[in-house]
């Protein structure tokens, strides 16, 4: 199976920072998989995602998505990827439909296509009846769901999700995870970060654990649980490799 993501020896130190955010991180992910990028706070997950999106330039190393260089080929790259940022990246005073219409037009889609895709995605994520309300009036779960829809409008081949279920209620979370499973079953690739290990264990084909900006271990959740001593859950594996020290 060909590779969706190829990251080699990435180094990144932010201006004024004492410690590097990434210290020689390397990882690979195959097409059609849901890959969980797991790590404690400050492990380098968001920096990795920002480099993959072409938003941050590494000090050294290389990153490719579907063979496209994430540093030099950002325009072509961003057509291939959909990004669900941790932040709600929507215009609060526009409704979901107005947000989607604007974002779709920026992607160069025609209005009919935008309407068709919006209707389908709004329906799938149970947002149709709220679609004409302003985003600013949505609950946390509704905002997260709309944030996901906005990232899928241009039908990307790879969906990058940075903690897509943070701060949402159980029902919204279940809806988002079901949607992700369906999306994955359609042959799409997903790179996903979360602090919720049960969630990662449930939906990821493979997880990569990073800490202190470095690769730690990877494998399917099942393999990792079996191969790590005294572990029965992915959370045990995570704590085994990253320790119990609280990170800020």
């Amino acid at each position: 199976m060909s590779l969706a993501i190829e990251v080699y020896d990435l180094h990144k130190r932010y201006k004024g920072a004492l410690e590097p955010a990434l210290d020689g991180l390397s990882l690979q992910a195959r097409k059609g998989q849901v890959i969980g990028l797991l790590g404690p706070n400050g492990a380098g997950k968001s920096t990795t995602i920002n480099i993959l999106c072409g938003l941050v330039t590494p000090n050294s190393g290389s990153a490719k998505i579907f063979g496209k260089n994430c540093i030099h080929d950002t325009v072509a790259l961003r057509k291939e990827i959909g990004v669900v940022p941790q932040q709600i990246a929507l215009f609060g005073n526009l409704s979901a439909r107005e947000n989607l219409m604007y974002i779709g037009r920026l992607y160069g889609l025609n209005d009919n296509t935008i309407r068709e895709r919006s209707d389908m995605l709004l329906d799938r994520l149970d947002m149709t009846r709220h679609a004409d309300k302003r985003v600013i009036r949505y609950s946390g779960g509704m905002k997260r769901r709309t944030n996901i829809i906005a990232s899928l409008l241009h039908q990307p081949s790879l969906l990058i999700m940075d903690e897509p279920t943070a701060g949402v209620d159980v029902q919204s979370r279940a809806l988002i995870l079901n949607f992700l499973e369906e999306y994955h079953e359609q042959g799409n690739t997903v790179l996903y970060t979360s602090h919720l290990m049960d969630e990662a264990q449930k939906i990821c084909d493979e997880v990569v654990i990073v800490d202190d900006g470095k690769y730690v271990v990877s494998g399917t959740p099942g393999e990792l649980i079996v191969n790590t001593p005294d572990c029965t859950t992915l959370e045990d594996v995570f704590l085994h490799y990253t320790g119990h020290t609280v990170r800020d």
Binding site: L55, T74, A89, L90, G92, N93, R105, G108
Partner: protein, 432 residues
């Protein structure tokens, strides 16, 4: 183009939903120009148009006092007040009333003033008659102690003082001239119907060379004198346009803070289109604001007793000027919104810098009367080029060719600001 239009539509929806913000964009500048035009109406009015109460303490009761009072009273500038509550105004009372600010100006015509002027006329007439062998009139040495005293309210401005003093001197001179002609008529035996005073041509000659104001060039449109409306409406409309920096910069920073700017940054290759769309939209808003203010100056202010705003001989030439000013104001806001990180930094800087640039640019006080160094600094203010461009059209009645330099400077500086903002935004998109 579709991406630019999409951004304009998005900005329109956002502004439409912010009813208070939109009202402030249009109503506050309207209130500003109405208030400024009204409060500056009096200082801007030519003294020829204004009428003041002139207190007169007449201790002379002679022909000089009578002629001065009649002359001043007949002019449109003064209403002569020589008695209060049925009693003649006295000098001490006059001083007291001026000190209290109840009157702006008062004159005291001393006892013997007419006699002094008559004596002076006699002396001149005697000098002339000596040379042509006519008789003489009784005359004595002039008394320095007799002179017309003028008092002002301490807050009266120097220009007002100068204007009143000139008018008073003019009427005293006329009175003296009349007395002189009377004396010459008497010495030459031409009294009654032959009097020199009845010779209109001679009277005209005594008045001297007439001064008349003429138009500089015939444009088919009457020259407009600068007045409160002609200065304040364009000046404060331009000032209001530059306050677009607040919504533009605020909107950009808010979009960065709430994450919506990140969504746009993730769409490939659209930053320049979004930037263009945003600038186009606010240029349209600024132009609407400007033309609304001109409309108020033309149609609303005359209802309030103020002069009507005139757009000069080439009114359509104001369209490119308005667009250039709007572009300048918007790109300044865009520049501030791009370079400042927080609204706490950007908004006070934006507002205060506009006030400073407007003060430098002649919005508050005409640049001509500012100190020389400030006049040079004014050239750095886009508001100077904006106001001067509008004045070229509205006051000097000139056409589009006269504002090409203004258009180039406003547009060139805007493009520079836009470029700097664009560079900052592309760098920021790569460092979120």
């Amino acid at each position: 183009m579709k991406k630019i239009i999409a951004t304009i539509v998005k900005e329109w929806i956002l502004l439409r939903r912010d009813v208070a913000g939109m009202a402030l964009l249009l109503i506050m500048p309207a209130i500003l120009i109405v208030v400024m035009a009204m409060i500056q109406d009096a200082p801007f009015r030519d003294y020829q148009e204004m009428q003041f109460d002139l207190l007169v303490a007449d201790h002379d009761r002679g022909s000089l006092a009578r002629e001065v009072k009649t002359g001043l009273g007949q002019s449109r500038n003064f209403r002569v007040v020589d008695s209060l509550d049925g009693a003649p105004v006295g000098e001490v009372q006059l001083q007291q009333l001026l000190q209290e600010g109840k009157y702006r100006v008062g004159i005291v015509i001393p006892a013997g003033a007419t006699a002094e002027v008559a004596n002076s006329a006699n002396r001149i007439a005697n000098r002339i008659s000596e040379r042509i062998g006519l008789g003489t009139m009784p005359a004595r040495e002039p008394r320095d102690s007799v002179y017309v005293r003028i008092y002002y309210d301490p807050v009266a401005k120097p220009t007002f003082r100068m204007s009143v003093s000139s008018a008073l001197e003019k009427y005293i001179t006329f009175s003296g001239s009349s007395l002189l002609m009377q004396r010459l008529s008497r010495l030459s035996g031409m009294e009654g119907s032959d009097s020199l005073l009845r010779d209109a041509a001679l009277e005209q000659a005594v008045r001297g060379l007439e001064v008349r104001e003429e138009k500089l060039f015939e444009t088919g449109v009457a020259n407009t004198l600068v007045n409160s409306v002609q200065h304040n409406v364009p000046a404060w409309a331009i000032f209001g346009m530059f306050f677009i920096v607040i919504p533009v910069a605020g909107n950009m920073i808010r979009e960065r803070e709430d994450g919506s700017a990140l969504r746009v940054a993730l769409v490939p290759g659209v930053i320049r289109f979004v930037s263009l769309g945003k600038i186009f939209f606010y240029v349209i808003v600024c132009c609407m604001q400007f033309f609304l203010m001109l409309g108020i100056g033309m149609h609303i202010l005359p209802w309030m007793g103020l002069p009507q705003l005139h757009l000069g001989a080439y009114p359509l030439a104001v369209v490119p000027v308005a667009i250039a000013i709007a572009f300048s104001a918007t790109t300044y806001g865009y520049f501030i919104g791009s370079w400042f990180r927080t609204t706490n930094q950007a908004l006070p800087f934006g507002a205060i810098s506009v006030v400073i640039l407007s003060a430098m640019g002649g919005i508050w006080i005409p640049v001509d009367i500012l100190p020389k160094p400030v006049q040079h600094m004014a050239m750095c203010s886009p508001l100077y080029w904006a106001l001067d461009g509008v004045n070229q059209l509205f006051l000097r009645n000139l056409g589009l060719a006269s504002v090409i330099k203004h258009l180039l400077i406003l547009t060139g500086s805007s493009l520079l600001l836009w470029l700097l903002a664009y560079l900052r935004n592309t760098r920021r998109a790569a460092s979120i």
